[in-house]
C-alpha cells in the first residue's frame, strides 16, 4: 500500500513538474485566475499598491482575487494553504513576515504554482521557491537616503562632521535591516565624518516614532544634525519630537522615505529636507506586469527593482506624479 502511494506520488510530481517546465506557461494571462495575498489596506502605500496591481491585472484580462492578512504571519500561512486549494494559475504574495513565509513558499513551489513575490524579498538563499521578485531594493533605498543626507549636510552648510540617528521600521524585517545597512554603507564610504549615533524602532508608526525620536534627542542632545526615518510617516513623529525638544526641524537634515503625503507636505513646508521615492504604484504595477508576463510565457528577470530617486524641494513634484496625485 505504501509503495503504491509512493509510486502515485512520484508520478503526480513528475507530471506536475513536466507541465510546469521553466519558461513555459499553460495559461495565458487573459482569463487566468491569480490570487494576490497582501498585507493590509490600512496604509496608504499598501492601498495604492493594491489599486495599481488591480488596474494592470484587469488590463491584462486577469481574474483576480485578493486576500488580506493584516500583517499576521500565521493567517497568511493559512491563506497560502487555501490559495493552493483553489488551484490558481499564479500567486502573487506580499510577505507579512519575510522569514515566516518561507515554509509557505515551499508549499507553493511543490504545488507547481507560478509565484511572484512583491515588496518584501525573503532571504535570497531561498530564491528557488519563487519565480520573480518585484519591488524595492531596500539596500538601494537606504543608499539613496545616505546620499540625500550627505547632500543635505552640504546644502545646509553643516560641515563634514556630525551625529545623526535612524528611526527604523519593524525590527528584524528586511526593509528595516537593509535600509539602515545601505544608509550606513554610503556614509561610511563617502562621508565618514557623519556618524550614526543611535537607532530606535518606530515600527512604521508615527506615534511610536515620536517616542523613539524623543528618546534619541534626549540622549544625543544638540549634537544631532540629521535624522533618517525609514518612512515619511515616521518622520512626522520625528518632527513632533524635535519641536518638543526645542529643536527647529528645518535646522536638521531630515531624510524620510516612500514619498508619503506627510513627506511631501513636510518637504514643501521646509521642515523635511528629503525623501526617497519608492512608488507604491510602480510597486503594484511591476508585480502585476511580472505575473502577466509569466503567464504569457515571456522571459522575466528573477529580480525587478524599483528606482529609488532622491526627492528634495526642487523635484518634489515627482512624488505626486509617482503616486498619482
Amino acid at each position: 500500500m505504501n509503495f503504491a502511494k509512493l509510486i502515485k506520488l512520484l508520478l503526480t510530481t513528475a507530471v506536475a513538474g513536466g507541465l510546469m517546465a521553466p519558461g513555459v506557461a499553460f495559461a495565458a494571462a487573459k482569463g487566468a485566475k491569480v490570487i494576490l495575498l497582501t498585507v493590509t489596506e490600512e496604509c496608504e502605500y499598501c492601498a495604492l499598491h493594491q489599486r495599481a496591481f488591480k488596474e494592470v491585472a484587469a488590463a491584462a484580462g486577469i481574474n483576480l482575487e485578493v486576500k488580506i492578512n493584516n500583517y499576521d504571519a500565521a493567517e497568511q500561512a493559512s491563506q497560502v494553504d487555501q490559495a493552493i486549494a483553489q488551484k490558481p494559475d499564479a500567486i502573487v504574495l506580499w510577505p507579512a513576515d519575510a522569514s515566516a513565509i518561507v515554509p509557505s513558499l515551499r508549499k507553493i513551489k511543490q504545488a507547481g504554482i507560478p509565484l511572484v513575490i512583491t515588496n518584501s524579498q525573503p532571504d535570497e538563499k531561498y530564491s528557488q521557491f519563487w519565480d520573480v521578485f518585484t519591488g524595492p531594493s531596500d539596500i538601494g533605498n537606504g543608499e539613496s537616503a545616505g546620499e540625500a543626507m550627505i547632500k543635505g549636510f552640504a546644502d545646509k552648510k553643516l560641515g563634514s562632521e556630525g551625529k545623526v540617528f535612524i528611526v527604523e521600521g519593524v525590527p528584524g524585517t528586511p526593509p528595516q535591516i537593509q535600509r539602515s545597512q545601505g544608509f550606513e554603507d554610503v556614509l561610511g564610504k563617502k562621508a565618514s565624518g557623519i556618524q550614526v549615533a543611535g537607532k530606535q524602532n518606530g515600527n512604521w508608526d508615527q506615534t511610536k516614532a515620536t517616542d523613539a525620536a524623543a528618546a534619541l534627542f534626549t540622549q544625543l542632545g544638540s549634537d544631532v544634525k540629521g535624522v533618517y526615518a525609514q518612512a515619511d510617516n515616521m518622520m512626522s513623529g520625528v518632527i513632533v519630537a524635535a519641536k518638543r525638544a526645542g529643536i527647529d526641524p528645518a535646522s536638521l537634515v531630515l531624510v524620510g522615505s516612500n514619498c508619503s503625503i506627510e513627506g511631501v507636505n513636510q518637504i514643501n513646508d521646509g521642515t523635511q529636507y528629503a525623501t526617497v521615492l519608492q512608488s507604491p504604484i510602480d510597486d503594484g504595477k511591476y508585480a502585476a506586469q511580472a505575473v502577466a508576463d509569466l503567464l504569457d510565457g515571456k522571459k522575466v528577470e528573477k529580480q525587478i527593482f524599483l528606482p529609488h530617486e532622491i526627492i528634495t524641494k526642487a523635484n518634489v513634484a515627482d512624488c505626486n506624479a509617482a503616486l498619482g496625485r
Binding site: K67, D72, Q79, I84, S99, P103, V170, P171, G172
Partner: protein, 327 residues
C-alpha cells in the same frame, strides 16, 4: 434505566450546534466546490490545530468557573522559547517551553487558590508579565530559524487533509476528554465550577482542580505556540494576540458556559470546528478580513441568544418524543 438513557442523549443545544456546523459545510460546498477539496480541508484542519489547542486548555478553566486571560501571551512565549532555547535542537526548545508553561500554570493556580484572588486578576497579571517576557526573549526582533525540517514534517499532509500538527490537537482533545469523563478529578473540576461552596463542603479537591486546569491551559497554549513556531520557522512577541478571544468564542459557541460547571472537550471541539469552518469558508468565497470578524461576532451572539430559547424548546420536544415512544 430511564435516567441513564436520558443522561446519554445529546442535548438540544448540542443538536443545534451540530446542525449549524452541517449547514455551514453544505452551504460553503455549494457556494464554492473547492471548499471540500482535499487541500482546502487540509488548510481548515491546520487552522483548527492552532485554535482548537488553545481553546481546549482555556475552556477547562472556564468549566472550573475560572478564566485564564494569559493564553495568548503564552502562545507567543511558547514559540519564542522553542526557537531561542532550541536554536540547535527544536525538540529541546519545545520541552523547555512546556516546562516553563507548567511552572506558570502552577503559579497561577497557587495564587488563585491559596490567596483567594480572582483568576481574572491573576491571569491579567500573567498576561502582562508573559507579554513583557516575550518582548525580552525576542530582543526587539522576529526570531527565525533555518531548521525547516521538523516544521515541514509537522505540516506535510497525511491522508490528504490531516497533518501531524492537526493530529496532535485531535489527540489532545481525546486525552483531555477521557480525563474529564472517566476520572474523579474531571468530575471535581465540573463540581468546582458549578457550585463552589458545595464543592468545598463535599470534599471536592478545589486546589488540585485549579492546578490541573491552569497547568493544562498554559501547556496547551505553549504547545500551540511551539508547533506554530516550527511551522513558520519564525516567532514574534505579538504572535497569538488575537487567539484568546477566538478561543473564548470557540468555547462559548461550542456550549461551555462562562459561569462554569458545564461543557466538555467535545463541546469545545464542536465550537472550534464551527469557527474554523466559518472562517475558512468565508475567506474562500472572498469575504474581507473585516467581514469575517463581523460574522464571528454575529454567530457568537446568535448562539448565546438561541441557547436560552431554541435550545430549551428543542430539549422539550425531544423529551416529549421520548415520552411518546416509551408509552
Amino acid at each position: 434505566m430511564a435516567a441513564i438513557r436520558k443522561s446519554r442523549t445529546i442535548s438540544g443545544a448540542t443538536l443545534l450546534r451540530l446542525a449549524l456546523l452541517a449547514a455551514l459545510v453544505v452551504a460553503f460546498a455549494i457556494w464554492n466546490p473547492a471548499f471540500i477539496s482535499g487541500r482546502n480541508l487540509y488548510a481548515l484542519m491546520q487552522s483548527f490545530a492552532l485554535l482548537g489547542m488553545v481553546a481546549l486548555g482555556l475552556s477547562l478553566t472556564m468549566i472550573a468557573g475560572e478564566f485564564d486571560l494569559s493564553v495568548g501571551s503564552m502562545v507567543a512565549v511558547g514559540g519564542l522559547i522553542t526557537l531561542v532555547v532550541g536554536a540547535g535542537n527544536l525538540v529541546q526548545g519545545m520541552a523547555a517551553a512546556l516546562a516553563f508553561a507548567v511552572l506558570v500554570g502552577l503559579v497561577n493556580a497557587i495564587v488563585i487558590s491559596r490567596f483567594k484572588v480572582s483568576s481574572l486578576v491573576v491571569s491579567v497579571g500573567s498576561m502582562m508579565a508573559l507579554s513583557g517576557f516575550a518582548f525580552w526573549l525576542a530582543g526587539g526582533k522576529v526570531i527565525s530559524t533555518d531548521n525547516f525540517d521538523l516544521g515541514m514534517a509537522l505540516d506535510d499532509p497525511l491522508l490528504t487533509v490531516l497533518s501531524w500538527r492537526s493530529l496532535v490537537t485531535l489527540a489532545a482533545f481525546l486525552l483531555v476528554g477521557l480525563f474529564m469523563h472517566y476520572t474523579l478529578m474531571g468530575r471535581d473540576i465540573r463540581v468546582v465550577g458549578s457550585k463552589p461552596q458545595v464543592a468545598a463542603a463535599s470534599g471536592a479537591r478545589v486546589g488540585r482542580s485549579l492546578v490541573i486546569v491552569f497547568v493544562i491551559s498554559a501547556v496547551t497554549a505553549a504547545l500551540a505556540g511551539s508547533l506554530l513556531s516550527m511551522s513558520l520557522a519564525s516567532a514574534a512577541a505579538t504572535t497569538g494576540s488575537t487567539l484568546m478571544l477566538q478561543a473564548v468564542s470557540a468555547a462559548i459557541v461550542g456550549g461551555v458556559a462562562l459561569t462554569g460547571g458545564s461543557g466538555t472537550p467535545a463541546h469545545v471541539l464542536l465550537g472550534s470546528l464551527i469557527l474554523t469552518v466559518m472562517n475558512n469558508g468565508l475567506s474562500l468565497i472572498g469575504m474581507a478580513a473585516t467581514g469575517i470578524l463581523f460574522a464571528n461576532g454575529l454567530v457568537l451572539m446568535g448562539i448565546v441568544l438561541l441557547d436560552g430559547q431554541l435550545g430549551a424548546w428543542m430539549s422539550e420536544r425531544l423529551a416529549m418524543s421520548r415520552a411518546a415512544n416509551s408509552a
